[in-house]
Amino acid sequence: MKKTVKQAYKQAPWRIQIQRFGFIALALVGGTIIAFLYLNISAQSATAGIKIQQLESKRANLENENASLLTEWARLTSAIEMEKRALASGYQLVDPEDVIYIVVEGYTGKELPEIETVSSVIGSTSPIIKPSYTQSLWEWFYEYILIPDSNLKVLP
């Protein structure tokens, strides 16, 4: 009868300790990397958000300034001001008898003025920052892993 011999051995205790230490260190390094990435993304998100706030504020100020300048320009070219300037420049109001009428081929009269409008994007209430910058890991896990179909509802 053939006997099977099994060799019994045990790792040296110091090896076991080193292994355990290595696993914990690995976990910590992994955790640190994840934390670093997470904080990095969060910091980028916050920086982007602050920059957007600043740009929003700057845009609002520019829009206000535009509105003010347009109105100031309108005041400077108002009917009364223009008449004053015209008279000061030596012009005079036309006498109906002095008007000369000529035929201009193709002229169909004054058309509606083209007025430029600085229009905001209509209905732009969609997120300015991508969801990936604002979602917590839990939200991401819930929406993308647990209930993947919900992506359709979340994405802009």
Binding site: P13, W14, Q17, R20, F21, I24, A27, G31, A35, Y38, S45, T47, A48, G49, I50, I52, Q53, E56, N61, E63, N64, E65, A67, S68, L70, T71, E72, W73, A74, R75, T77, S78, A79, I80, E83, V94, P96, V99, Y101, V103, K110, L112, P113, I115, T117, V118, S119, S120, V121, I122, S124, T125, P127, I128, I129, Y133, T134, S136, L137, W138
Partner: protein, 598 residues
């Protein structure tokens, strides 16, 4: 032994690191799960007012725009009695010229006595509508102060300036670059109250469109919540049918006429009868819209802000145009129908006489209009019969809204047979514009049928709206068709000839115009009609063969002369001389030549 100690130390380090890591992970998980509450973002609700839409004239000149002003406030959490309060008060006094100490102190006193933190005042508005110049001065002052503080030579003499908590925010308010021009048409916005509605004219009528979508949103200082700030589009803008230059000319003419005739007030309307576009609408008095609070006293009576749409009056003989048009169109009379004027006619209980009390003998319809014979027109109304006469007035829109797109139109209902205040006498008096009341806009709208081949176009003052960058042009619409094209042409020829034959003051060199004067007597309660007080009017249009403009003039209670033919007719001529220039209408002979060459 040393070996064991080594492992014990390693184990202790492991445990410590694991605990720290566990705490960090637990904290991260807690922040992620409980969200932003832990980082306590400063969220607040704020009402966003979009830029109010602008108002342009038909050539793109701005009649109503917006300008920046500033709100000055303090965050009371950052204002401390012992530290910066006095500096804030002193700085504002130096720059703005006002002492805000009482406001700040009373708010702080209130907070001190308020146990509920939610009811305390944290954000105190000190002032609003501050001109940008003052804010520029404030910013320059602060910059200069900071530079001096950095300079070693001057730094020692200056104390540190701590203005923490002092804030200033820009926002837009309405402004009117043309001041009083077309003020009666535009109306105004009470700029010192952003929640207040607009008043009168275009501003009130189109308030919803102009102000845009006011939204209250939650604003957070958490940068991650930027997605919640919506991009609010500005309010819609309007392009009016008004021509700024023509409006100004017409206002000048009106003001001069009111002054020279000693009138109490006046109105001039210029319309393109082919489209219903109002090219100019002047009402006297007017006001500087940028100073509405002080100038509103000019308008004590209801509707007087824009008398063209808000003050009904007995128009007098200009109304004969409606009566004659109705009679011609119904076949009751023809231009050659004759009437023997004996100087009076009795209708109901009223004896009706002519304007001069005279008898004009045998007259055709041309003569009746030329001499403005009350007796003749009363006879015509009688001949038409009550039902047909009032049906005709209804067809012209008398007693109803003109549908003009301006807020504040007043309608004086017409009394019909069967009404309490109607008697047969009304048939006679109504035929020559007495015993009824209309506004100038209702009169010009009715008469536009004669000037536009029988069709009344809906009068309108907005030519186009601009929303989200897209321009929507108004399409002219036929409102009523009270008479035929033939009737309109016939009556226009009759009235043009009338002006020529009587060498009217309304005649304009080189242009053939048609029109009718009116002198309406004014009834005073308790005294009846007073001869000395009249409403002088004129309605006219031209060129008679191809009407392109329609002008209505009303001078209220002129004192230089009571007759419309004397005071209102020359005003019409003055207006037409300007209208033909701005509308590029050449004199008749040149126009005919141009037509022939085409």
């Amino acid at each position: 032994m040393n070996h064991d100690n080594f492992f014990i130390r390693v184990r202790v380090i492991q445990v410590v690191i694991a605990v720290i890591a566990a705490v960090i992970v637990a904290q991260m998980v807690r922040i992620m799960i409980t969200g932003s509450d832990l980082v306590s973002p400063d969220t607040r609700f704020e009402t966003i007012y979009p830029e109010r839409g602008k108002i342009y004239d038909r050539n793109g000149n701005v009649l109503a725009g917006n300008r920046v002003v500033y709100e000055i406030s303090v965050n009371l959490n950052s204002v401390n009695t012992n530290q910066n309060q006095d500096q804030i008060i002193q700085t504002l006094f130096n720059v703005i010229g006002k002492d805000y100490s009482e406001k700040i102190l009373s708010a702080q006193a209130y907070n001190a006595g308020q146990p509920d933190p939610d009811k305390r005042i944290y954000y105190l508005v000190l002032d609003d509508f501050i001109d940008p110049e003052k804010i520029n001065y404030l910013e320059g002052y602060l910059q200069e102060y900071a530079e001096k503080r950095q300079d070693k030579k001057t730094a020692r003499k200056l104390p540190a300036l701590n203005l923490n908590g002092l804030e200033w925010w820009p926002h837009l308010v309405r402004t009117y670059p043309e001041s009083s021009l077309a003020s009666n048409v535009i109306g105004f916005v009470a700029f010192n109250d952003r929640t207040s509605p607009a008043y009168y004219g275009i501003e009130e009528e189109y308030d919803d469109l102009l102000k845009g979508n006011v939204q209250t949103i939650e604003i957070s200082d958490d940068p991650n919540k930027m997605k919640e700030i919506p991009d609010i589009p500005p309010g819609g803008s309007l392009i009016l049918t008004i021509d700024r230059q023509l409006q100004k000319s017409v206002e000048n003419i009106l003001d001069n006429a009111v002054r020279s005739t000693g009138s109490q007030s006046g109105v001039i309307i210029v319309e393109d009868p082919r489209t219903g576009e109002i090219l100019a609408m002047a009402s006297n008095p007017r006001m500087d819209l940028n100073n509405y609070a002080d100038e509103l006293a000019k308008f004590p009576e209801m509707g007087s802000f824009n008398r063209a749409i808000g003050v009904p009056y007995e128009p007098g003989s200009v109304f004969k145009v409606i009566t004659m048009a109705s009679a011609l169109d119904s076949g009751t009379v023809t231009p050659s129908t004759t009437f023997n004027d004996t100087g009076s006619i009795t209708i109901g209980s009223t004896v009706i006489r002519n304007w001069n009390g005279g008898a004009w003998g045998l007259q055709d319809m041309q003569g009746c209009m030329q001499h403005s014979l009350n007796v003749c027109l009363s006879w015509i109304a009688q001949k038409m019969d009550v039902e047909l006469f009032y049906q005709s007035l209804t067809n012209f829109g008398i007693g109803k809204s003109s549908n003009i797109d301006l807020a504040g139109e007043i309608i004086y209902p017409l009394s019909y047979p069967g009404d309490t205040y109607w008697s047969l006498s009304n048939l006679g008096t109504n035929s020559f514009g007495q015993g009824l009341a209309t506004t100038p806009i209702q009169m010009i709208t009715a008469v536009s049928a004669v000037a536009n081949g029988g069709k009344i176009m809906t009068p309108h003052i907005v030519k186009a709206t601009i929303q989200d960058g897209v321009t929507y042009e108004y399409t002219p619409q036929v409102m009523l068709t009270p008479i035929s094209e033939e009737t309109a042409k016939t009556l226009t020829e009759m009235l043009a000839k009338s002006l020529e034959l009587e060498a009217s003051n309304a005649l304009v060199e080189d242009y053939n115009v048609a029109g009718k004067t009116g002198t309406g007597e004014i009834a005073i309660p308790g005294q009846g009609y007073v001869t000395e007080l009249t409403n002088a009017s004129f309605v006219g249009w031209g060129p008679a063969d191809d009407p392109q403009f329609l002008v209505y003039v009303w001078l209220e209670k002129p004192t230089s002369d009571r007759w419309g033919s004397i005071v209102a007719s020359p005003v019409f001529a003055d207006v037409v001389r300007q209208v033909v220039i701005y509308m590029n209408i050449p004199p008749d002979d040149i126009r005919m030549q141009l037509y022939a060459n085409e």
